[in-house]
């Protein structure tokens, strides 16, 4: 009631005012801005949808030609051959990925964790000033440079000349170790973060009970930071699983299902990059293999990432 009379009344300034809210130009502008920004944020969702859509579309086409069982459980990966020699069993690629990641982690986990512990608990200022930039530099080196290093130096000079190992030109040992070096900064930094987040009271408590620095670090701080450390390892593994170029250049192009460090292996990502090259005609079975292997890789890294997010949330909760 009051609105209607007030709506037509004269205000204090002698002008007609309206108590009925009409959107002003300003507020329409603000709403427009918010909508625009929301649209920008929605792009990121669109990207995920596009990735999933393009992968799923060709995956379905692929499974029109090859049975799911043959793909998931087959142990021969020879898509380029014709006729009855053609086989689409993905296990050698998955194995290659895991094997190379495993070798990488054998290097990266101890080196990364020890480095992280050292930086968090022990490093004096002067050494920190050198080591942190070294790790940051290592993290910033493009993977192609690692690939170059693996093929032209690590395999011939270190593995063959210096260690005298009879490795193939393209071999798992070289690719795996360099892959590990790639991942070390990731693990080291995250372990350092995890350990630094542990409250000082724990360290003081341990010292008060007579533990020395090493014992404090290993038996008190490290276990307290454990889920953060595990998250770091999972993230490092995820990075190694998705790595393409090092394996493509130094690991070879043979889908291999064995345990020989001296032989060449092919990972899922390396297969995709070796096959795709923008060349394959759309609709051919090889084109489809890019997507099905891509889908497998995508799902794998997604699972690893979700695990690590869970772990990070868990360790954050302890101190909040």
């Amino acid at each position: 009631m009051a609105d209607h009379t007030a709506a037509a009344s004269e205000g204090a300034m002698g002008r007609r005012t309206s108590l009925v809210r009409r959107p002003s130009r300003r507020s329409r502008f603000e709403a427009g801005v918010k909508a625009l920004l929301f649209a920008a944020a929605a792009v990121s969702v669109a990207v995920t949808l596009a990735i999933i859509f393009s992968l799923v579309k060709e995956t379905i086409a692929f499974f029109g030609d090859v049975s799911v069982g043959d793909y998931l459980f087959g142990t021969k990966w020879t898509p380029q051959f014709a006729g009855d020699q053609q086989s689409f069993g993905v296990i050698p690629l998955v194995w290659g990925t895991f094997y190379l990641t495993f070798i990488g982690l054998v290097v990266a986990v101890p080196v990364g964790i020890l480095s992280g512990i050292y930086l968090a608990e022990f490093a004096p200022r002067r050494i920190r000033k050198i080591v942190k930039p070294v790790l940051e530099l290592l993290a910033g080196v493009p993977t192609i440079v690692f690939g170059y290093f693996a093929l032209t130096f690590f395999t011939p000079e270190v593995l063959r000349n210096f260690l005298g190992l009879g490795v193939n030109q393209f071999n798992a040992l070289s690719a795996g170790i360099i892959l590990g070096i790639l991942v070390v900064p990731t693990i080291a930094t995250l372990v350092e973060d995890a350990m630094s987040a542990v409250p000082q009271s724990l360290r003081e408590g341990a010292a008060g009970l007579g533990a020395n620095k090493v014992q404090t670090a290993i038996r008190v701080v490290f276990p307290a930071a454990l889920s953060g450390v595990v998250a770091a390892l999972v993230l490092g593994a995820s990075r190694a699983v998705g790595e393409t170029v090092i394996i493509l250049i130094a690991g070879g192009q043979q889908a291999n299902l064995s345990l020989n460090l001296y032989e060449s292996y092919q990972s899922m990502a390396a297969y995709i990059a070796a096959t795709a090259r923008g060349d394959i005609p759309t609709g051919s079975i090889e084109y489809e293999t890019i997507f099905i292997v891509g889908m497998t890789l995508f799902v794998l890294t997604l699972v690893l990432n979700l695990i690590s997010i869970r772990l990070v949330r868990k360790y954050r909760q302890v101190y909040e």
Binding site: S44, I51, V131, F149, S201, Q215, V220, A269, L304
Partner: protein, 302 residues
């Protein structure tokens, strides 16, 4: 676990006297292991740099920067087309990722109601995108941008868009942190003086966080130009003897040229790859230095 519980558990394994002999030895051994681990990283970096420098430095010259790759005469080969391609890609990538990334970050930090499920979904989605392997972005580029709906072909624009999508999550995350570092009091003061939300953002929050945002963008761009896998999948040209003449031209880039030369059987080309690596690392060093300079000089201390 509380601090007391953990400390109590530790004490069960620790003796109450000062470190005995065995403890000392273990400490020293562990300390050596840690130093060894650090040493491995340092050694790896130094060996890598040394090897690249040794192989490539003799090939660095002005000619190298201004010639095209030659298949027949290695000594005439250069990286001009690769440098131009990389710069073109960087500009396209920046043009896309700067507005999109900052806008998304602003939305998530200033407007989004975290109670709403779609806003939480956007956040989780960005975290997931950050972990997707670069080669999958290449597949996306191939299926959607080079072919598929956009059907641009194997051109600079397609490469730039793909790289932009690859680093978009990183830019969003870094920009969010920069925006978040602006204290709420700034916003509240501005609103109290009658400014609208957007006015507050545009005139107070953004200028206050621009240094952090710019640093993050430069770092993201330096990551983008070092990527090889997505460009391989999209189909960058091999050994092109021309510079791109626009957004719809085929192209190559420094990582691709390095990739091609590294695998050549001719040792001379392999050394050219090392020289190209040196050029690329100088470029990256420059970009990182600019980023660090911006951060130190313009960073707001609230």
């Amino acid at each position: 676990m509380t601090g007391a519980q953990i400390a109590a558990r530790a004490s069960r394994h620790t003796s109450l006297h000062r470190s005995g002999g065995a403890d000392r030895i273990f400490s020293i051994a562990f300390g050596t292991l840690m130093l060894g681990a650090i040493g491995i990283s340092v050694l790896a970096l130094l060996t890598l740099l040394f090897d690249v420098a040794r192989d490539g430095i003799s090939h660095l010259s002005w000619d190298f920067l201004t010639s095209f790759p030659s298949r027949i005469i290695p000594s005439n080969s250069g990286i001009e087309s690769a440098i131009y391609g990389t710069l073109y890609l960087m500009v396209v990538c920046a043009a896309i990722v700067v507005p999109l990334g900052i806008a998304t970050a602003i939305y998530l930090e200033e407007y989004a109601n975290r109670e709403r499920w779609w806003n939480r979904a956007i956040e989780v989605n960005i975290q997931n995108l950050a972990a997707v392997p670069s080669v999958v972005y290449g597949i996306l580029g191939l299926a959607f941008i080079v072919r598929g709906p956009l059907d641009l072909g194997r051109v600079v624009l397609a490469g730039g868009i793909t790289l932009a999508l690859l680093v978009l999550p990183v830019v969003i995350i870094v920009s969010r942190e920069a925006i978040r570092s602006v204290p709420p009091s700034i916003r509240e003061g501005s609103l109290a003086l009658g400014a609208t939300q957007w006015q507050t953002i545009w005139k107070q929050v953004l200028p206050g966080s621009i240094a952090g945002i710019a640093t993050g963008i430069i770092l993201a761009l330096s990551r983008a130009i070092g990527e090889t896998a997505p460009l391989l999948v999209i189909g960058a040209a091999v050994n092109p003897r021309f510079n791109p003449d626009g957004l719809f031209s085929s192209f190559t880039a420094l990582p691709i040229q390095i990739f091609t030369w590294t695998q050549d059987k001719d040792r001379e080309f392999v050394d050219l790859a090392a020289a190209a690596i040196l050029v690329m690392m100088v470029l990256l060093l420059l970009m990182n230095s600019v980023a660090i300079f911006l951060r130190n000089r313009y960073e707001q201390k609230w």
